[in-house]
Point group: C2
Chain length 321, copies 2
DNA sequence: TTGAAAGCGTTACCAC
DNA sequence: GTGGTAACGCTTTCAA
């Protein structure tokens, strides 16, 4: 778009950006708008941000494993809230690119802010991003990273909640399912650690139970259940709980009589099981709050990095424990 | 980055891009590389694509409703395959922006290709994208759009498969669950239509059953089940099937004796229900094939738009039907 | 009120 | 072999 309406490029820019500093005559405005519509003109984001020296793009790495409804809703809310603040959310999809290499790839897009779920970002990566112009880097993980704002997802508290509940219900030999699927370690490890902490100094014992999300794996685990001598199991989340519970029931193991089973995430499916599944309800951070944190950080990049602990965990006791 | 290593910007460009047309002395190369590393230099994608006149960005709108494991896996595979072809996949997150307005927002990023799941793109939108430089526009929906390549997701075939199966099992009064959640119409409507087609000209009847994904809604539907007089129900997908099946069982309705229940998508949870859930297995398009389609279209934008019907549907008969 | 021109970071092209 | 220069599309400053 340029001399299409018989005016200068500057005039076009003024009209389309509603620049209030200069006054353009109504007829000219109309001519520009009509020409723009007719030509199907769309501004060039790259040129704009190149000239401006910054963009309004908030970048997140696209998750590379199936995400549940919890995260979907969180993401939706976040996108909505950031959209209201005039940011554009972009999920960068690159599989197999990790750590600092990923940070460099993100930095090429010169996002104004970067949101990183998971612990795949080091101090080095934060430096690269900041030097490339990112005014805010926020991590969502169990541990904070130097130089970045942190939303500490306290998965450890989820495990603690589960462990304390099972202990209070009189269980003493407690299994903890740890998914074998990759990409889940950063969630499962702290959940296991939380159970351990809840039971430290008591007479209860904790047994780690690696489990792949397959019927056959669950059946194998259930087959040796009696010899394991467990009276309770915290199954990482509701889906693994459903998988294991079914396998245990197929082995005629009474739930919760012989073994208590609890999950986490409070998904719909837990309410549909029989016995109804006890679960740890997890409260993800509010998308609106996170959007405001990002906006604050962008407006004031010099401020100290904030660290918030989120992910409220509360027990939902139903019938399986 | 510019005169940091005491060389010209052009030389920097040559070194970092390994341009073979010109020969740069080894010492110079080293100096440039060192300076780049020291400064944490990262190339500016916007400047690059501005200069080049095109990018390697493939844009997809981020889904604004919870997606299942099927779609997650498809997306993962697609990102991997496009990554191998040196494209960068970006999911554009904007909630509440629809149709041509969304197309214009996407066009601002000047992606080389746009992949649109769902039927939210009109001929107008395709024109805007193409005029802005997109060399390939591919839709994944039930209907094709003029000017765009189309992967026809044949949800109608899913419904047909379900209807034919239930008829063959002797069922004649067939309910079809239609989710009330928004965003799912483009999947649920063709699935319902497929059931209708399968039973057209037979003595079977089809009853549409709107259902929200909530226990209470399912309970209300189950409470009036006997008066509905249905002997089978196709529940949109496995999750709705689980919801409804549980409600029916709570009403002491025998499955499959009194009512056959089938789902779709062949999720793990169907195998864990008792009775085991019959389901329509759905084959999403191969991410690799789609990546190749995109690449072909990008290399040869003039070629006629391709239309492929994907989404193979096949019945998985278990115990609930 | 409008237009001309500079400059953002890159890279292709041409002189040196 | 190397380095200057122009141009990509846009915004902004300054001059007309």
């Amino acid at each position: 778009m340029a001399r299409l309406a018989g005016v200068s490029r500057a005039t076009v820019s003024y009209v389309l950006n509603n620049t209030s500093a200069v006054r353009i005559s109504e007829p000219t405005r109309r001519r520009v708008r009509e020409a723009a519509k007719e030509l199907g003109y769309v501004p060039h984001a790259a040129a704009r941000s190149l000239r401006a020296g910054h963009s309004r793009m908030v970048l997140m790495p696209a998750p590379d494993f199936p995400v549940g409804p919890l995260y979907s809703r969180f993401l939706d809310e976040l996108q909505w809230a950031l959209g209201r603040l005039d940011y554009t959310v972009v999920q960068y999809g690159a599989v197999g690119v990790r750590g600092d290499e990923a940070a460099r790839a993100w930095a090429e897009l010169r996002p104004v802010a970067v949101l990183v779920p998971g612990s795949d970002l080091g101090t080095k990566g934060v430096t690269v991003l900041k030097r490339s112009g990112a005014r805010a880097v926020v991590t969502l993980a169990s541990e904070s990273v130097e130089g970045a704002h942190a939303l500490l997802l306290d998965h450890e508290a989820v495990g603690h909640c589960a462990g304390a509940h099972l202990y209070a219900r009189g269980r003493r030999r407690i299994g903890v399912v740890v998914p074998e699927e990759s990409g889940l370690e950063s969630f499962s490890a702290p959940r296991l650690a939380g159970v351990r902490r809840a039971l430290r100094g008591t007479d209860a014992t904790v047994v780690e139970l690696p489990l792949a999300y397959e019927e056959s794996a669950a059946a194998r685990l259930a087959a040796r259940w009696r010899e394991l001598g467990l009276d309770a199991v915290f199954a990482y989340n509701d889906e693994y709980a459903m998988l294991l519970m079914r396998a245990l029931q197929d082995e005629d193991i009474d739930i919760p009589g012989h073994t208590a089973v609890i999950g986490a995430d409070d998904l719909m499916l837990g309410r549909l099981l029989r016995p109804r599944l006890s679960t740890v309800h997890v409260e993800l951070p509010s998308g609106r709050d996170l959007a405001e944190l990002v906006d604050r950080a962008v407006r004031n990049p010099g401020a100290a990095t904030e660290t918030h602990t989120v992910l409220g965990a509360s027990m939902v006791h139903r019938e399986s424990s």
